[in-house]
């Protein structure tokens, strides 16, 4: 069974991620246990692939099973050593601060739900699992992936890395002349983990290398579940998880070898941690969430190109405003805020600098599908119609956007005058911030053809679902009073 190789291939990266998260949580372990493992997998894979990438570039080490193991074990050891140092430093550590996540304990099968409610929940769980299992088994494992980005980018580059045992940036073109492949400008986490899994398996297998996408998809659902559970309890967490699994285009991305669901997991981690930092009760928990947010934000850079240009600046800006607010409200001391800024700066620079230097050194563009340099501005008609169709009239998102709009209107105070503003602001800035690019630049094709616009929404759908679920919770609780 080829999928067995997922276990050795992902164990050390996940362990590295879990340990890194546990260190960053410090004295306030704020995450649920399973949430920590899930986030550990998401961040751990990106972290170890980042280290692998630069280790290969700088040392020329061949990407064999042994070298992967050496790099990953070294990473784990380094993190364990860091853990020891930080543990010794805080030897006075008493009981962990009460986890924000563990305060609300709603258990699905102990609370007084009616038989009908429980039946509906059970049916929706079975239905969602059926969709995910059948579509992922078929599209990821049993059939070849002939989608543009799979054969041009993620899978192709992974196969090149695996075959060549190194980071190779050039490929023969249609004339057979070797040249720098433009898509080498994309961060290599996705292809590199595919190459790593293949190194373990000893061969390139479509089913194996594609199955990682399902894990990223499931991880995002799990992260959304625990995030909502922390704030609103189990029933709303289930509701949010169901909402996310029901979004058709997100399911398509989760069960096909594209990298937008993968990116969405990182974005979700980075911005939701800021939200929880603002809502957490005590400074230790706030700092814990912010340190996790710093690592998540930094690793965003190594996911897809648009993360560095679009998502990271917005996340950093919102984090800065949140820190300012926390300081103003005396929820954090100045010294604590400064430390958090150091954490963010350290992590972001540690990832961004080498990556940017690498890109500049190789003359790579900084846009996503297309370079953003030399943009000429002109009005492109038809954008709003395409956007409206995609958002409201097609089958991509069910009723998610009407629901969000209704909730933003009727719960505007919650959306704009409570810590939920962190999520609201992120969504609105990202969404409306991209619109001028589509309306006035050559990127209008990304909206008219519903390519970049759709994927942009896929990347933030988990945040939309979380915001909608939390606003719903406030609405329902108020109606119950």
């Amino acid at each position: 069974m080829i999928l067995f190789w997922l276990i050795p291939g992902l164990f050390l990266p996940t362990l590295a991620g879990v340990l890194a998260i546990r260190i960053l949580e410090g004295r306030a372990p704020v995450l649920f246990k399973f949430e920590r493992i899930t986030l550990g997998f998401v961040l751990g894979v990106t972290l170890t692939m980042f280290i692998t990438f630069f280790a290969q570039i700088l040392t020329g080490i061949k990407l064999t099973v042994l070298s992967h193991l050496i790099i990953q074990i070294s990473t784990v050891i380094a993190i364990v050593l860091l853990y020891k140092i930080t543990k010794n430093k805080s030897n006075e550590e008493k009981k962990p601060a009460a986890s924000a996540g563990n305060k609300i304990h709603y258990s699905l099968f102990t609370i007084h739900y009616s038989f009908l409610t429980r039946s509906i929940i059970l049916i929706l769980i079975v239905w969602s699992l059926l969709k995910i299992i059948l579509s992922s088994a078929t599209f990821l494992v049993l059939t070849p992936s002939f989608l543009d980005d799979a054969v041009d980018n993620w899978n192709l580059r992974g196969k090149v890395f695996f075959t060549e045992r190194r980071i190779k940036l050039d490929l023969p073109n249609e004339k057979g002349e070797t040249e720098i492949y433009p898509l080498s400008a994309y961060p290599p986490t996705v292809p590199l983990i595919k190459a790593e899994l293949s190194a373990f398996a000893g061969k390139w297998d479509e089913g194996l290398i594609n199955s990682i996408h399902l894990l990223w998809y499931l991880s995002t659902i799990i992260l959304v579940y625990f995030a909502i559970k922390r704030s609103a309890g189990g029933i709303f967490a289930l509701l949010g998880a169901y909402m996310l699994t029901s979004i058709p285009l997100y399911l398509m991305h989760g069960t096909n070898p594209y990298a937008d669901a993968f990116l969405s997991a990182h974005i979700f981690a980075a911005i939701s941690m800021v939200y929880f930092a603002v809502t957490a009760d005590n400074p230790e928990e706030k700092k814990s969430f912010l340190r996790l947010g710093a690592l998540s934000a930094a690793l965003l850079i190594f996911t897809k190109n648009e993360a560095l240009l679009i998502h990271l600046p917005v996340i950093l800006a919102i984090t800065a405003v949140s820190l300012f607010w926390l300081k103003k409200k005396n929820k954090l001391q100045t010294s604590e805020c400064v430390k958090i800024i150091y954490w963010y700066s350290g992590f972001v620079l540690a990832v961004a600098l080498p990556w940017i230097i690498f890109k500049l050194a190789n003359g790579f563009a900084f846009g996503n599908a297309q370079a953003l340099s030399g943009i000429k501005l002109s009005w492109h008609p038809g954008i709003m119609k395409a956007v409206f169709y995609n958002t409201f009239l097609e089958g991509n998102w069910l009723l998610l956007f009407p629901l969000l709009l209704i909730l933003l209107v009727i719960r505007r105070k919650d959306a704009f005058k409570t810590p939920l503003l962190v999520l609201t602001a992120f969504l609105l800035i990202i969404y409306f911030g991209q619109m001028p690019l589509y309306m006035f630049t050559f990127l209008y094709t990304e909206a008219v053809n519903q390519t970049g616009y759709s994927r942009g929404l896929v990347q933030i759908v988990p945040i939309i679902v979380m915001l909608a679920a939390l606003l719903l919770e406030k609405l329902i609780r108020q109606e119950q009073v």
Binding site: G176, L251, M252, N256, F392, L393, G395
Partner: protein, 387 residues
């Protein structure tokens, strides 16, 4: 009002609609008949009523029209004909507004065949279609040789339209390369002809089904607001009802879209995974995965190899590069000229001429003596050039 009264009212209201059940108007050209009405033929050199139907032969473009008074809503037209030649033809109807004096046109395609063909064309979504038009006809291109047996106009009553709308809501699209960017979702059409063709177009024929959802929600919201303002129900109850209906519609849409995605999986399983070897097809790529898989051993041993795929579809080249790496394909330049082995996939314009040259659209693209090593389905073959 009691429920019995409500039902009775509904039945009485429905009677006028049910009287106008589906009706067809048939123009029968067989047995040398000419359907009633004033006919006008322009440009067509020969249009002769024969036993088998109206025989038309013309070396020039032309058209024929008849005065019409359908007197009912017409949603589709079905033409029974025989034409050995493939051609694009056009339906014509006269616009009845003062602002437009010419004919409205709706092109359709006739596939050449010795057999009798029945071609159904939706009119309900045609631009500016008006069933009250006073003139309707058909235009044919030069070189047409066609026998028209019958032209039938169909209209559907309100219940049939509602039934077709419901069926079209649950009709699924197929998994295409664009499905990763957007899913059209439910669309609404009101006759079976439009429903059958709806996903063949981009965007689909008809209107987005989401409009029905939004209209339902808007009506409900309006009614609940009115009832709340009138003090008939409380705000909390109104909110609960609205939220309940909203949730129910979400579930309906989830079922609709979830089943569509599962239908993609089912098609893939039936047509590819569990299909017999040699007949496996994957979505629009048809036999490509099976062909590529079979050709790869030879191609990989002769890298670079040349690859000629369907015109304008670079994805096939990308897929070959991915599948065969580290061996790689070439499609132009010196690499193409020197490559000895290659694969032609789904390109009917490419073949080997009598001199052994590889030709594309009649032009020699490789002058070496080439021979077909293996033929595949879908106009595909593996080729070896010896020089």
């Amino acid at each position: 009002m009691k429920i019995e009264n409500l039902l009775l009212t509904a039945v009485l209201l429905a009677i006028p609609f049910s009287i106008s059940a589906k009706q067809s108007i048939v123009w029968d050209f067989t047995g040398g008949k000419t359907p009633p009405g004033k006919w006008e033929v322009r440009g067509l050199e020969q249009a002769v009523p024969e036993t088998g139907g109206l025989a038309i032969q013309t070396a020039k473009d032309g058209y024929m029209t008849a005065n019409t008074d359908f007197g009912q809503d017409i949603g589709a037209v079905t033409i029974t004909l025989v034409s050995t030649k493939s051609m694009e033809s056009v339906l014509l109807w006269k616009e009845i507004t003062s602002s437009h004096s010419g004919y409205r046109q709706l092109p359709f395609y006739i596939e050449g065949s010795e057999e009798e063909q029945i071609i159904s064309i939706d009119l309900s979504n045609a631009w500016k279609w008006n069933p009250r038009t006073q003139e309707f006809g058909i235009a044919l291109p030069s070189g047409a040789e066609i026998l028209i047996k019958e032209i039938r106009f169909d209209g559907w009553n309100v219940f049939e339209k509602a039934g077709n709308a419901a069926k079209s809501f649950w009709k699924f699209d197929r998994f295409t390369p664009q499905s990763i960017n957007f899913l059209w979702g439910p669309w609404i059409n009101f006759n079976p002809v439009a429903r059958g063709d709806m996903y063949m177009m981009d965007p689909p024929l008809g209107i987005p089904g989401m409009w029905i959802i939004y209209a339902s929600l808007a009506l409900l919201g309006f009614a609940l607001s009115a009832l709340t303002l009138a003090g008939k129900i409380g705000r909390a109850k109104a909110t609960t009802i609205f939220a309940g209906v909203f949730a129910a519609l979400w579930l309906v849409l989830d079922a609709r879209m979830g089943l569509e995605i599962l239908s993609y999986a089912k098609t893939d399983l039936n047509e590819f995974v569990f299909a017999e070897e040699g007949s496996r097809n994957l979505r629009i790529f048809r036999s490509f995965p099976e062909t590529a898989q079979d050709a790869l051993p030879l191609l990989s041993n002769n890298s670079p190899y040349f690859f000629i795929g369907p015109e304008g579809k670079s994805l096939y080249f990308s897929a070959m590069r991915y599948l065969s790496y580290p061996a790689y394909p070439v499609s132009s330049g010196p690499g193409f000229e020197s490559a000895k082995t290659g694969l032609v996939f789904a390109n009917a314009e490419t073949g080997i001429d009598e001199n052994g040259n590889l030709v594309k659209s009649g032009k020699i693209i490789k002058a070496d003596p080439c021979e077909i090593m293996k033929k595949y389905r879908d106009d595909s073959f593996l080729v070896q050039c010896s020089k």
